[in-house]
Symmetry: C2
Subunit: 123 residues, 2 copies
């Protein structure tokens, strides 16, 4: 049996909450890594972010990202799979997500976006 | 004699601080109004924002906007003139400011961006 955590509808996604959520470097790194992964697979699992922070700290950030509408969480058994809500975000705020990701990418080293990231090491 | 308050250099402008600064609805409204005004004149004076919040509240938000690099403040006598640091922001984070302003514009009513704004009533 799987529980689906609460997500805001597309219309409920609010700009100030999205910007506030993205202003945290760890959440920015999570979003950045999800965006990097979009080319390969749209979902990542919680363990893929272990290099960014401790488990409970990550759980907190995942919840914030879900609650503001940036991320969709799918629960399957004991696993959680995350993906960006790109369609919803692009519909609500055209160009915003891409501009933030591009800006983050420019400062990737300074922001330590890929610090100890395990995403690309899988397999 | 005029004092110039401290501003970060272009290179010191940090993405998380900019996003955090923009996540406040009053600061978002200030930035939005400065952007609307860019076509006519690049500067606005503190009194132009009186409809958004009280004087000391506004002073706090102006300082936050200056400190994160979004806004340039020029002191002339007892007046303060504000403008967006568009060139610096576009150089550091291409497309970000425009995407935020466009997103804010879509939700202008919901965000009360122009609520009791006195900017257009001048003269």
């Amino acid at each position: 049996m799987s529980r689906t955590p609460l997500h805001p509808t597309r219309e409920q996604i609010e700009l100030p909450m999205v910007l506030d959520c993205l202003s945290d470097p760890i959440r920015l790194a999570i979003v950045y890594q999800l965006a990097q992964q979009e080319r390969v697979s749209s979902e990542l699992c919680c363990g893929d972010f272990n290099g960014l922070a401790g488990k409970s700290n990550l759980a907190y950030h995942f919840a914030k990202l879900r609650e503001c509408g940036l991320m969709q969480t799918r629960v399957a058994g004991t696993n959680r799979f995350m993906r960006l809500r790109r369609e919803d975000l692009d519909a609500r705020f055209p160009g915003l997500l891409d501009a933030v990701i591009k800006s983050a990418s420019k400062d990737a080293e300074r922001l330590q976006l890929m610090a100890e990231c395990e995403v690309v090491e899988a397999g």
